[in-house]
Every structure is written in C-alpha cells, then in structure tokens.
C-alpha cells in the first residue's frame, strides 16, 4: 500500500475534470432533455386536459341542446297531435255530414227509384188492367149495357149542380141548340126520346139532335154540345184509365 502524493493530486484533479465534463456534457443535457420532454408531455397532457374539458363542456352543451330539442320535439309532437286530432275531428265531422248527405241522397234516389218502379208497376198494372177490362168490356159490351149507361147518364143530368147546368145551357146556345150524339149501337126511339127530353130540359130550349154510330165506343154515348163533350162510354172510360196513368207518370 504505497501512497504517492503526485498520484493523489493528479487523481483529485482528474476526478474534478471528469466531474466537470460529466456535469456539463452529460447530466445537464440529459436533464435538460428530460425536463423538456417532461414539459412537452405536461404541455400535451395540459392540452389534452383542456381538450377534454372543452369536449366535456361541448358534450354538456350538446346534452343540454339535445334536451332542449327533445322538449321542443315533444311540444311540437303534442301540437301536431292536437292539430291532427282537430283535423281528424273536423274531417270526421265533414265526412259524417257528407255521408249523411249521401245517405239522404241515396235514400231519396232509392225512394224515387222505388216510386218510379211503383209507378211503372202501377202503370203496367193499369195498362194490363185496361187491357183486361177492355177484353172483358169487349165481351160484355152490348145494347143492354148501352141502355144502362144511358140511364146512368140521364140520372147524372138530374144531379148536376146549377153552375154546370148554366154552362151546359150556355154551350147549347153557342151550338145553336144542335147536339151531336154518338153511340156504339143504334139507339132505339124510346131512348132517343128520353135523351131528347133530358137535353131539352137541361138546355131549357128545344134542341135538335143528330145521331150516329161509333163502334169504337164499345158501349155507351158521346154527346158533343159545342165545345162540350159528355162521355159515358166504355171506350172513353178505358181511355180515362190510360190518361190517368199518363198523368201519374207525368207527375
């Protein structure tokens, strides 16, 4: 174990030099680099924290906005629902009214159709009845029927009211007391006389009668006094059915 003072001194100097070199060229740059890196990392962390805070603030803001939008959406939905209900209600009312109107129209149309059908059937019935009556009356028509009809006519003359009598009297005067009488069968003298008497009494003046035969009347008489025409024969009665049917149709 030797001790050399020069080695001792040189080693002290050597170590101090080494320490200076290491301090200035190793520790300081390394520590500075580490410090810079730490600062950079801290800065990045700070920036990240700031961004995080901003993101959280934005998230909160968006959350609030979403809530607001939800509330607005809900309110709008409620309003829309109300409007829809009101519209639906109005449309339903309108539709019901239209349906009621249509139903009423349909009922009217149906009623009209029914009436028309009924009238048609009635007309057919009348027509068929007239045909049937015409066939029967053709078979039953004869001088006896005509005699009964004449009796019936004369009886009706007696039942006329004063107004009708006056008008007939006036018609006689206008026709210069000339009266034309058509019959389906030749009238016997007795019946002609009865007719002459009745008409003379009705016109209150002597009248001249002219007789002719018209087989189309089937049975009965047709008396023309000027513009007047008194009809009591089967043909005209049957025509009366047809006219009545035509009148009903016209209505």
């Amino acid at each position: 174990m030797e001790f050399s003072l020069s080695t001792f001194i040189l080693e002290v100097i050597n170590f101090l030099v080494l320490m200076w070199i290491l301090k200035h060229f190793l520790y300081r740059p390394v520590l500075n680099a580490l410090e810079k890196r730490r600062a950079s990392i801290a800065e990045k962390i700070k920036r990240a924290d700031n961004k995080m805070a901003e993101a959280e603030a934005l998230q909160a803001q968006y959350h609030q906005r979403l809530q607001k939008w939800d509330a607005e959406k809900q309110q709008l939905q409620q309003t829309l629902q109300q409007e829809l209900q009101e519209t639906r209600k109005a449309q339903m009312t309108k539709l019901q009214n239209e349906l009621a109107e249509k139903r009423e129209k349909n009922q009217v149309n149906l009623q009209q159709e029914l009436d028309q059908t009924l009238k048609q059937y009635q007309s057919q019935a009348h027509h068929q009845g007239a045909q049937f009556a015409s066939k029967i009356l053709h078979k039953v028509a004869g001088p006896e029927v005509e005699q009964h009809l004449l009796s019936l006519l004369l009886e009706q003359f007696t039942q006329l009211d004063e107004d009708k009598k006056n008008r007939l009297k006036k018609a006689c005067q206008e026709a210069s007391q000339h009266i034309e009488i058509s019959s389906a069968y030749p009238l016997p003298d007795q019946q002609r006389q009865r007719l002459t008497d009745a008409l003379t009494e009705l016109c209150e003046d002597p009248v001249t009668l002219s007789f002719d035969e018209d087989k189309a009347l089937l049975a009965g008489l047709r008396i023309h006094i000027g513009a007047w025409s008194l009809r009591l024969n089967l043909r005209d009665e049957l025509n009366g059915f047809v006219e009545l049917d035509s009148e009903n149709r016209a209505l």
Binding site: T7, M19, Y27
Partner: protein, 237 residues
C-alpha cells in the same frame, strides 16, 4: 510473480510530478467517457433511441437513488455522486482488460476520492446550512461528542479509501495468483466475481459518500427544525 505486475509504476515524470500507470489509466478512462459523451451528444434527439434511452435511464436511476436519500438536494448532488459511480464502475471494471490495471487498486487514487468525499461533505454542508450552523452540528447533541465526530470524520474517510483499495487490489491479486498457479482461463470465475465486486464496490462507495453528505445536510435541517419547534412552543408556556 513479477513485482511490476502488482506495483504502481511511474511511467514518466512531469517536473516534480511522477505520472503513474494509475493516472494514465484514469486519463484513458476520462478520454473514453468524453468520447462516449461526444458521440452520445451528437445523437441526442427529441425522440430517444436505444442508446439515449439507456443513458437517460442511468441518469434517472442515479437521480432517483440520490433523491431517495436527500430528496431536496438530488439535483445538486447528482454531478458529484453520479460522477463517483460512473468513474468507479469504469475504473473497477478496467482491471478486466488484459494489461490494464484498475486505478482503484492504487491507494493514492482511492485516497484522493475519499478526500474528495470528505471535502464535499463539508462543502455541501456549509453551502446548504452555512458555516456556523454546519460547524455547530459537531457539538450536537452534546459538546462532548465533538471528539467522536472528529474521529468519525477521519476514520470513515480512511475506511472509504482502504475499503475500495483493498477490495479491488485483492481481486486483481487473486486473479493474478490463480493465473500464475493454475494457468490460462483458470481465473475466469474470479474475473466474474470481479465484475460483481466492481459494481458493488462502486455502489457502496458512492452510496456511502451520499449518506455522509446527506447526514451532514440533514443534521442541520433537523437541528433547525428543533430550534423552530422550541420557538413555537415557548408562547404556549
């Protein structure tokens, strides 16, 4: 066994100063470390590579080790303690190179380092606590302790120097003896032990230096806190 294998040779003379192989090896180590640092600094980048990461890891590990003992003075103590560790590791391992001897097998070198530690304890103690306050700690807890403190200062410094010198010198000598007795490749296990021992001794030396410095600083801090406690306790009485 040649005497020159163990003896410290004086290689040349610069005036009155004899330059030994220990000093030359130390210069070589300083040059090697400087070259490494120069190369390292050339490749210093913001995104560290493998080498930079390794160097940074070493520096951080040393700083953390110092901070574990003296948390508030870690940055101030790092150049001295860190340099001790680096220099001792490299110096101790230099003996593994054939033809090269560890500078730390020379008592003059270990004594120089021990003296530097001795000076640095007072240097840091005075710089941090002030001269009066620092010197006062030799009188605590009682002025009777002053001789013991003084003896302790000397013995621990001597112990530092002798411990490192003894370990490294004995390792080299052992390896040399085994080589002489058993032949080539026989000292390999001892060389492996040399590696472990070199690292352990470097750590112990540096850690003891750190503990001595920290104790000098913290003794003052403890005393100051006790004084402050007394001052704050008085109004209560």
């Amino acid at each position: 066994m040649n005497h020159s294998e163990i003896a410290i040779e004086s290689l040349f003379q610069i005036g009155p100063i004899a330059v030994t192989n220990t000093v030359v090896t130390t210069w070589a180590i300083i040059l090697g470390l400087s070259a490494f640092i120069w190369l390292y600094m050339r490749h210093l980048a913001g995104a560290p590579g493998k080498l930079q990461t390794a160097v940074e890891a070493v520096v951080i590990a040393m700083e953390d080790a110092i901070a574990a003992v003296a948390p508030q003075q870690a940055k101030r103590l790092l150049p001295f303690i860190g340099s001790l560790w680096i220099f001792l590791v490299v110096s101790n391992l230099a003996g593994l190179i054939p033809g090269v001897h560890s500078p730390t097998r020379d008592f003059s070198a270990t004594a120089a380092l021990a003296i530097l530690v001795f000076v640095s304890v007072h240097w840091f103690g005075i710089r941090i606590s002030g001269l009066k306050s620092y010197l006062h700690h030799y009188l605590t807890p009682n002025p009777i302790m002053l001789p013991f403190h003084l003896v302790s200062e000397i013995t621990r410094t001597v112990a530092l120097a002798v411990r490192l010198f003894g370990n490294i010198m004995s390792l080299e000598m052992t390896a040399l003896l085994i080589l002489l007795v058993a032949g080539f490749l026989a000292p390999i296990p001892i060389l492996l032990l040399h590696i472990v021992e070199a690292l352990v001794q470097a750590y112990i030396f540096g850690m003891l230096a750190l503990v001595y410095i920290a104790s000098g600083i913290q003794a003052q801090a403890l005393r100051q806190s006790q004084i402050e406690d007394k001052h704050t306790a008085k109004p209560m009485e």
